[in-house]
């Protein structure tokens, strides 16, 4: 009856703790430490780590860089959106805006690229499907990550941060070729 009554012992903090609780606390703490260690370990041995490279930018500045890439490496068009095939290892750009991912990228399998992502207006969610990599795209920030597409195929980029009434129409494309 003591959970809602004052503790039976005035000096309750001196009452020894039972063995069972101590063992459980030790086990739980050990597990917490293992989970903690997994994160740095993955930074060393794992391959999926988010870079922290990011720059403040503006929609105008970022948009200009995207256009520059598009004008240099455009290889076609899909549904009115340019398809761009930038050189391996280069800086590639994709922007989110109401309600489009722009442009479509064509990448080579197992090659590394520096992908820049930003938003022109509201926040968006860059959700690469079906691989299932999800990033938050925030206006004013140019987020840079090194990606190495390791499976050839056609990928959808779904927007998974709510961005208004056309949110569900915001689908982009990335092609990965052998």
């Amino acid at each position: 009856m003591t959970s809602f009554l004052p503790p039976a012992e005035r000096i309750w903090w001196k009452v020894p703790v039972g063995r069972q609780e101590l063992i459980w606390i030790a086990i739980a703490l050990t597990w917490c430490i293992i989970m903690f260690l997994m994160m740095p370990i993955w930074h060393v041995y794992g391959k999926q780590n988010l870079s922290t490279e990011a720059y403040q930018t503006t929609p105008a500045k970022f948009g200009a860089k995207v256009e520059e890439m598009v004008s240099q490496y455009k290889v076609g068009e899909e549904a009115g959106v340019p398809i761009v095939e930038p050189p391996v290892g280069s800086d590639v750009y994709m922007l989110g805006r109401l309600w489009q991912w722009y442009p479509v990228l064509k990448l080579k399998k197992d090659q590394e690229y520096r992908l820049h992502l930003s938003s022109m207006d509201w926040q968006h969610g860059w959700s690469l499907q079906p691989d299932n990599i999800n990033l938050q795209i925030v206006p004013g920030y140019d987020m840079v990550l090194k990606i190495t597409p390791d499976k050839a195929g056609e990928y959808g980029v779904v927007c998974n941060e709510y961005c208004g009434i056309g949110h569900h129409t915001m689908v982009g494309k990335i092609y990965v070729e052998e």
């Binding site: 005035r10 609780e21 903690f36 569900h168």
Partner: protein, 576 residues
């Protein structure tokens, strides 16, 4: 003047003003839950792709209203009732400054109504997170600000009541564990509301044109100082409710006051820092900070929850074994009062919170694993296990106790009440599990159309994702039915339940109608004495072996599921 009544059934003393405030806060909360539940019908029948009921604009409006009414208004109003109960009733103390408490309540009410008006006018479908630069109408933010200020005032009345109790020496020794947990919740609430003010006030000023720009990333970092720690208020509050119900139902005594209180303290020290797991895939957040924040800060809070997860059922087990239910590991559990919704609700809350809410939360809060989960439907599935089958169900269980004790009504339709925790908990668990699955396949949250109708480019989710969403939706409908059963029983009992004497009446107690003086007949309750000392029984083995078994099961599930997710992560594109 005599201002207290003693409840003949429970032995609790209710102070007149505190009683009115508990009732009004709880009832207002339940109204918010009703609104949220009705909106949930729209949400679930739209996300069930084969039904796809609402048009896009209505869906987003309804989803915004659902999230805010459920998570903010229902839970926080109800928590105010719990705070007053934990201070005034449990400590047998008069409520400090009832007028201020009422002012706080009305501010919350005005704020909640104002915010709902903004949402249902259709121009504030910004979701409860209201990420800038998407803009809602000014009264959307103003409503939330007023609500927060009102809540803060009531929290201070709670602290004031604790001070009064101490000065007037209404209790002996230290405050009870349940009150201690409530204090934890209240301290975290102060921090939370401060973060909320820091971000929502500028956002409000921005919406009326006084500030030209708010940095979207800064908004996210500070907003989650509010959004994350507010969830810790809920955890502290419902853990306190677990302890309370275990005590009332079984006479269970905490296995160790020290351990349980220490675990609550961990919440205060660490939970509020742990907001980084909401921004793990945001641009430019440093790795060290993310790791520090999710491990040191979050895991020590997780440790605290794992401790409560052992000590709450452990206390029940010890109490049951004392009553002679000692056969095997689980006789104490098998012979628990499963037909009593106070118990079944509390126990389902405990299990789903720990096994589903806790594990999925830690997994998706891992720095790298978040990459495969962020903003998928996995996220709402996770927090329905924490705030719905966890917090909400714990509060529902508490309500069944409060109907006779606080509201002095006999519960109507006891068989409905008996089934309610199973229907609600079971339905929601189905929804949660299947939506966790759909999220793992990448299905997006806050998304009107899995088919992307009208998109320039096509993408198709695998067929199984549709099945998972459909089964999840059926579970959700069951959950809504369970919610309806709760409302039927509670509202019905308040209106039509047989009056228990002595009763303060519901309306009378807060519209100032003359009260029957015979109800509040106690001038000053007796001193709240320390719990009776119990004889130490020295056993060399475990006091609660069954609970330990359950805890190990949790651990094994946790470990396996955790590493499965690393494996899944390892299969996606390398990035760095």
């Amino acid at each position: 003047m005599a201002e207290f009544r003693e409840c003949p059934d429970s032995g609790f003393y209710f102070h007149k003003s505190a009683e009115s405030l508990m009732k009004i806060n709880a009832v207002t909360g339940v109204v918010a839950l009703l609104v949220a539940g009705l909106l949930a019908i729209g949400v679930i029948l739209t996300r069930w792709q084969e039904v796809h009921w609402l048009p896009a604009d209505k869906f987003y409006m309804v989803l915004t209203g659902h999230g805010i009414n459920a998570l903010i208004f229902w839970i926080i109003f109800f928590e105010m009732a719990i705070l007053h109960f934990a201070a005034s009733t449990l400590l047998r103390c008069r409520l400090a400054t009832p007028r201020w408490a009422w002012a706080g309540y009305f501010l919350m009410l005005i704020g909640a109504i104002m915010n709902n008006v903004a949402v249902f006018s259709g121009n504030s479908s910004v979701m409860m997170t209201s990420y800038v630069p998407m803009q809602a109408e000014p009264h959307f933010y103003l409503g939330l600000i007023l609500f927060a200020v009102g809540a803060l005032i009531q929290v201070f009345v709670f602290f004031g009541t604790l001070v009064v109790a101490q000065q007037e020496k209404t209790y002996e020794g230290s405050v009870p564990l349940v009150t201690f947990g409530a204090i934890t919740a209240a301290i975290i609430a102060v921090f939370t509301i401060a973060s909320g003010a820091i971000i929502l006030i500028p956002t409000f000023l921005w919406s009326i044109g006084y500030i030209s720009h708010i940095d979207a990333e800064m908004y996210r970092v500070i907003w989650w100082g509010l959004g994350h720690s507010s969830q810790q208020i809920n955890v502290s509050a419902h853990v306190s409710v677990w302890y309370l119900l275990a005590g009332i139902l079984f006479g269970a005594k905490p296995m160790s006051e020290k351990v349980s209180r220490f675990a609550f303290l961990l919440y205060i020290f660490f939970l509020q820092l742990a907001s980084a797991h909401h921004i793990l895939v945001d641009p430019g957040i440093s790795t060290e900070w993310k790791i520090f924040n999710t491990s040191y800060a979050m895991y020590l809070a997780v440790l605290a929850s794992m401790i409560h997860g052992l000590t709450v059922p452990g206390a029940i087990e010890v109490a049951q074994r004392k009553k002679g239910l000692t056969k095997g590991l689980y006789e104490w559990l098998r012979k628990a009062p499963w037909g009593n919704p106070v118990f079944s609700g509390m126990f389902i809350s405990l299990v789903t919170f720990g096994f589903i809410g806790g594990i999925t939360g830690v997994v998706m809060g891992t720095e790298q694993i978040n990459l495969i989960i962020h903003n998928t439907i996995y996220v709402p599935a996770h927090f329905h296990a924490t705030v719905v089958t966890g917090t909400t169900l714990a509060f529902m269980a508490l309500t069944y106790l409060l109907i006779p004790v606080l509201f002095r009504r006999q519960m109507i339709l006891p068989w409905v009440a008996k089934m309610q925790p199973y229907v609600f908990g079971g339905g929601m668990t189905i929804m949660i599990l299947f939506m966790l699955g759909a999220g793992t396949l990448g299905v997006s949250r806050r998304h009107w159309d899995m088919d992307f109708a009208g998109a320039l480019m096509a993408f198709e989710y695998p067929a199984i994702a549709y099945t998972l969403m459909a089964v999840g939706a059926i579970g959700g409908l069951l959950g809504i039915l369970g919610g309806g059963m709760y409302l039927l029983v509670t509202v019905g009992s308040l209106l039509f339940g047989k009056k228990l004497e002595p009763s303060a009446g519901f309306l009378e107690s807060f519209v100032g109608k003359a009260l029957d003086p015979s109800v509040y007949s106690v001038k000053k309750p007796d001193l709240l004495a320390m719990a009776p000392k119990e004889e130490e029984e020295h056993t060399s083995g475990f006091e609660a072996p069954g609970t330990f078994g359950l805890a190990m099961l949790l651990l094994v599930t946790f470990v396996v599921y955790y590493f499965i997710n690393w494996k899944y992560l390892a299969s996606v594109w390398p990035l760095g």
